[in-house]
């Protein structure tokens, strides 16, 4: 991002309410420099879309935000990621605790090979909920708009659900433990238009209580659901600002080229 653009996005994006922010973030996989000097703020109770061509580092950036990159051997991270002002890579931060506040939905639905009920109860149990979990299971399934379809078969395998239902189950599973932030990595890429529409509605509803960061390849989706959009290219942040402005008056010609489908 040029300095002028950085100043512009600083003016456009309310950084005072940042739930998450990165400052000079760099990520290397071995010797390949996957994220280069990315500084971004994710405002509270809003939806931020990350767009960019395949391989530009969207997933890598997302996985830095709740320390899911810790599991990848040979990864090196410099710079700062702050969750409500606290550096999440500080030595005294427990990544397990952190992930309870910053949940993640993956590109491919990944329900556990257990019952629908157990898929949700697992997160509740490991987070210390005791006693009757059914009301909480029901609540999160309702939030994810799945309850009516599964109420009679909570004890059946989650693997018997359709792809769209599985993804909503994964969302319900993440919501059950009441995180603060939801990171979504192309949550609809494995779904048909109907299932996608349901999940988009859901995401929009969730905005009232959650801060959401969503990676997507679908420009219409980014335009439809997000408040802010970040465009990345080759590991760099090219442009960041309110979605409406990015899609109508992009400041960088590469952003314009990408959103109009002229490359990538």
């Amino acid at each position: 991002m040029s300095e002028a653009q950085a100043a512009q996005s600083a003016a456009e994006v309310p950084s005072g309410l940042a739930a998450l922010s990165t400052e000079g973030l760099n990520v290397w996989y071995g010797t390949s420099h996957a994220i280069q000097d990315v500084s971004l703020t994710f405002p509270e109770r809003s939806i931020t879309a990350i767009i960019g061509p395949s391989g530009c580092g969207k997933s890598t950036l997302l996985r830095c935000l709740n320390r899911m990159n810790d599991f990848i051997p040979g990864v090196r991270i410099t710079g700062r990621v702050a969750y409500r002002g606290e550096d999440i890579y500080a030595p005294d931060v427990d990544p397990v605790e952190l992930r309870r506040s910053i949940g993640m939905i993956f590109q491919k639905p990944n329900p556990f090979p257990k019952s629908i009920y157990e898929n949700i109860a697992f997160g509740l149990r490991i987070n210390g909920y005791r006693g009757d979990l059914l009301p909480r299971v029901e609540r999160s399934l309702r939030q994810a708009a799945l309850w009516d379809e599964v109420r009679d078969r909570l004890r059946d395998s989650a693997l018997a659900l359709s792809g769209g239902q599985q993804q909503r189950l994964c969302i319900a599973r993440a919501l059950a433990i009441e995180p603060d932030i939801l990171l979504m990595d192309e949550p609809c890429s494995a779904l048909d238009p109907t299932a996608t529409a349901r999940i988009e509605d859901l995401i929009t509803e969730l905005k009232a209580s959650y801060t959401i960061v969503i990676v997507t390849h679908n420009m219409q989706q980014a335009a439809r659901v997000s408040d802010y959009t970040a465009f990345m290219l080759n590991g760099r942040l090219i442009e960041f600002g309110p979605t409406e402005r990015i899609f109508t008056r992009p400041a960088d010609e590469r952003t314009e080229a990408y959103i109009t489908g002229r490359f990538g």
Binding site: F71, V96, F112, F122, R155
Partner: protein, 291 residues
């Protein structure tokens, strides 16, 4: 122009498929056939002398009175002890190597050595057991020394099988659990182990089946062939079925050969029994842990 998958090539591919199928079928028939002939042979020789007295008597110099009781108890106790020792050790080692250890020259060295250990002849384990457990640790020719030796022998097999089963658990499942704030141990305990358990148990069953038939290491550590009692503690001397069978077969009298065949039948039944038990256990665990 002929398409690459034209009729000629398709016919040839079909012929190859049929040939391969015939070959595979042949291999199965030969394998099973040999097994059936062997079983039939043993049955013919040993069924007649397989009596209750045979099962309930201790060894004797006269084959009419010689029995298999000490060997049966010895083998069953040995197998249970081996399972109790090697299963947690093997699974623990596999979990450590797969889920906790950092990839380093050291872990690679350990991995290569585990693979090599699986190929070491069993007599070498027997000599090791003799040196370490019988002599240095002063366990004598006890059941415990035998079980520890056998555990060493089958540990590499269990570790390798368990690692493969653990590695087959998809990364997406682990990530899903981590993303919910699960600790490493919670991921292992609630997801990795339950999903890997069928594979781990299959490997363990195979390893234990090998242990129950092993003779050489037990002879090396000096398990007795004449034991006229049932071991009462893990520090008692013992004998095992293959040792007793080996002893009987090497005698000149025809009668001992017959009871050796009966012994083989018992050995087979016990082995199949253990396998069946493990399969039932596996099926039940699978059901319970999944839902």
């Amino acid at each position: 122009m002929r398409a690459p998958g034209g009729p000629g090539m398709r016919r040839r591919r079909r012929a190859a498929a049929v040939a391969l199928q015939a070959l595979a079928l042949g291999a199965v028939v030969v394998g099973l056939g040999v097994l059936v002939v062997l079983l039939f042979d043993v049955l013919r020789d040993g069924a007649g002398t397989l009596t209750w007295t045979f099962l309930d008597s201790f060894p004797s110099r006269r084959w009419q009175q010689a029995g298999f009781k000490a060997a049966i108890f010895g083998s069953v106790y040995l197998l249970v002890l081996v399972a109790v020792i090697s299963f947690p050790l093997g699974v623990g080692a596999a979990v450590y190597l797969e889920e906790y250890a950092r990839r380093s020259a050291m872990t690679r060295f350990v991995e290569i050595n585990i693979a090599n250990l699986a190929a070491v002849p069993s007599i070498v384990y027997g000599l090791l057991g003799l040196g370490v457990f019988v002599r240095t640790l002063g366990l004598g020719r006890s059941l415990l020394a035998g079980a520890l030796t056998m555990s060493l022998l089958i540990l590499p097999v269990i570790i390798t099988a368990a690692r493969e089963a653990i590695r087959a658990v998809p990364a997406s499942i682990r990530e899903g659990a981590y993303a919910l704030g699960a600790s490493r141990w919670q991921v292992v305990r609630h997801h990795v182990l339950p999903m890997a358990l069928p594979g781990i148990l299959t490997g363990t069953i195979l390893a234990l089946s090998r242990a129950i038939g092993e003779t050489a290491p037990l002879i090396a550590i000096g398990a007795l062939t004449y034991v006229a009692f049932v071991p009462e503690s893990v520090f008692d001397p013992f004998t095992a079925m293959p040792i007793q069978i080996y002893n009987w077969v090497s005698r000149p009298q025809q009668g001992f050969h017959a009871i050796a065949a009966s012994g083989i039948l018992v050995l087979l039944v016990v082995m199949l029994g253990f396998n069946a038990l493990a399969i039932v256990l596996r099926a039940r665990m699978q059901r319970r842990s999944q839902w």
